[in-house]
Amino acid sequence: MRIACVYGPALALQAVLRRDGARKESEDAIALAAGPGERAKVLALTAAAHRAGVRRGMTVGQARAVASGRLATSLRVVLTAPADTAAARAALCDVGYAFAPRIETEGERVFFDVGDLARLHADDRAAAQAIVARAARVGLAVRVAVAASKGVARAAAQAHDVAVVPAGGESAFLANLPVATALRTFGDTSESVELGERLRHWGIGTLGALAGLPPGEIQLRLGPPGARLLRLAAGRDDEPFLPSLPPDALEEGTELDYPIHEIEPLSFVLRALFDRALDRLACRGLACAGVTLRLKLDPRGFDVRDLPLAAPTREAKTLIEHLRLDLARRPPGAPVVGASILMLPARVRGVELDFFRPAGPAPEKLAATLAHLAALVGAENVGAPAEVDTYREEAVDVRPFPIATPNPPADLARAATDDPARALAPALGFRRFRPPHPVEVLMDRGGPTALRGPQIAARILVAAGPYRSSGEWWHGDGFSRDHWDVHASDGAVYRLHQDRRDACWYIDGYYD
């Protein structure tokens, strides 16, 4: 097994830069801080800030003072944003899922098996470079190492941008790795710090030097952390690889520095979220089948709304328009100070073209069009009409329009023979009023004689009926009607009904 470790150093800082769209962070002096005001502590910093003398653990005030004389522009301090960090961490996971069906996550690192990638990439180095490129697409700068075990890959990724540790050559590869660098992979615990100090006092600076010491003595003097470090130095790693499947939904979020009151600036923020989320879905070859938007309101509360889509789509423009229309219909009740989106991934299936039939719309384009139409007129108004199993004549259902229509040969055979009778005398159509229009009707003993309603006032020349229908009384909202087909003096043949419960008259529509 070949395991890749993808390490996103200073992921919290990268998350903020990713949110702001600043990909080339090394060019600017930026420090990430957490805490109140000027006493906030610097947690992470860019290379430019490091060159200016800023160090982790400084207060913001100290950092500004140190950097003031050495930078052309002032030091930029950004505060940690948990929502952005979570989104960046999830994006890192998506990089893994782009290459493997299961991955293991560990803080700022993900691990996955790249043994099968040999069929797609020339060698492990090419695969590692592909991983770096994929991460750059979702706005992350990562280091990648490929090795036979997790621990070795983790240590190699800590020290190199791209590293490939040959199988069997682990101890030789790690021999020059500084002990301090290797210990950083154990986490910032007091045990690690103490272990590093003791080895430094002994004059042990690299893993190669450590590997030459007797294991029993190391175990006795340095305890389990020392033994673990020694096993790593020898290239022996028994840490199990525990991968897991991807989550069902994909989340992106951000927190705002100031409240937003209007839809237009909010849609700019949401656009960035959608772009990032769709980039992540693209990593996995998926499209968005539905969105749940969660807006954090000022001073408290949330606005949660679901946006069903007619079909999976990868177009941010369509999604944002859908969302903008929904926000315009139901604006949030308070200013917005944070937003997160939960996307439901779905696979867009390709369709094989038919030799005998005209090529229909491309599935992905049709999906985008359906989503766009849903945004324009509402998802409930787009789809394929369907009959409902009821005697209520106006009932109609709207089902999802199939993106890929099956075209079995039998279907085509039926289509090939047009009905000659139908070509000569087409079936009579009917236009329905939804809902039925209320009308006034004059009756005599023979039936309706005149009707008056919205845009209709006519004598009735011929009346055929009544045809009685009733049903759904078992639901509690049943109906009982007397229907009439009437030829009115305006030339049309209307279909009327009288509700037998309240004796009111309605026009169902007309034959056309």
Binding site: D354, F356, P358, A359, G360, P361, A362, K365, T369, L373, L376, V377, N381, V382, G383, A384, P385, A386, E387, E393, V396, F401, P402, T405, P409, L412, A413, R414, A415, A416, T417, D418, D419, R422, A423, L424, A425, P426, A427, L428, G429, F430, R431, R432, R434, G446, Q455, V462, A464, Y467, S469, H487, D490, G491, A492, V493, D508, G509, Y511, D512
Partner: protein, 224 residues
């Protein structure tokens, strides 16, 4: 493994090499009604806008459903943008429209044109029908021009159905339906509507004497 043997019906769809060159020049989409096809010179023109106008009860909906059914039978993808939500699924099924293959978009008159443009933009639709119903379109001329251009670019037939011909649309062909005459069987309380006769006239691009009578048959023993 058993070989797949195409039926004669499928073989009829095969195109010979000499016909292949002229295949894309079939610029008409059948209306599904012989008389109407004869009037229009083959059917609704592809890559252009056709108009169907007439008062209430004149048979607009019947011809619209017949056109949709004929297009679907030929394997085209079709859409109906319905400004009044007036489609009756039972009537559509009786006209031969497989409902599952019809993209139905209910849009207000104000949004109907934009919805039709969206559908056309997807490409691949053989027929896009825009049913304005009783509404009088107030769409600016520029909107109709956009629709025409979209139809030309995608090669789709666009059919606009309305009470009157839309101002500024200037469709490639237009049919006017005049008031129809219903036929009832039986007398008084036993009377049943059986059919409507309608007259097609005033077609754009047709001679002044070009008319056609149509007998729209109602399916027996069916309500609605």
């Amino acid at each position: 493994m058993a070989a797949w043997v195409p039926s004669l019906a499928l073989a009829a769809h095969l195109i010979t090499a000499d016909k292949l060159a002229t295949r894309d020049k079939r610029a008409y989409l059948s209306t599904g009604v012989d008389a109407l096809d004869a009037l229009l010179g083959g059917g609704w023109p592809r890559g252009a806008v056709g108009e169907l106008a007439g008062p209430r009860g004149s048979g607009r909906t019947s011809l619209l459903l017949a056109s949709l059914a004929a297009a679907i039978r030929r394997g085209e993808t079709v859409a109906l943008v319905d400004a009044e939500g007036a489609l009756c699924p039972r009537a559509a099924v009786r006209a031969g429209v497989p409902l599952a293959r019809l993209l139905w978009v209910r849009a207000s008159e104000r949004k109907a044109l934009a919805a039709a443009e969206d559908v056309l933009a997807a490409g691949g639709f053989g027929l896009v029908a825009l049913d304005l119903g009783e509404a009088t379109s107030h769409a600016p001329i520029a909107s109709w021009r956009r629709l025409k251009r979209a139809a030309e670019q995608q090669g789709s037939a666009v059919l606009v159905v309305a009470r009157r011909r839309a101002e500024g649309l200037l469709g490639a062909c237009a049919l006017g339906l005049v008031a129809a005459r219903p036929h009832f069987a039986g007398e008084d309380a036993a009377a049943v509507l059986v059919a409507i006769d309608t007259l097609i006239a005033r077609g754009k691009g047709m001679g002044s004497d070009d008319t056609a009578k149509l007998h729209l048959q109602r399916a027996p023993h069916v309500l609605g």
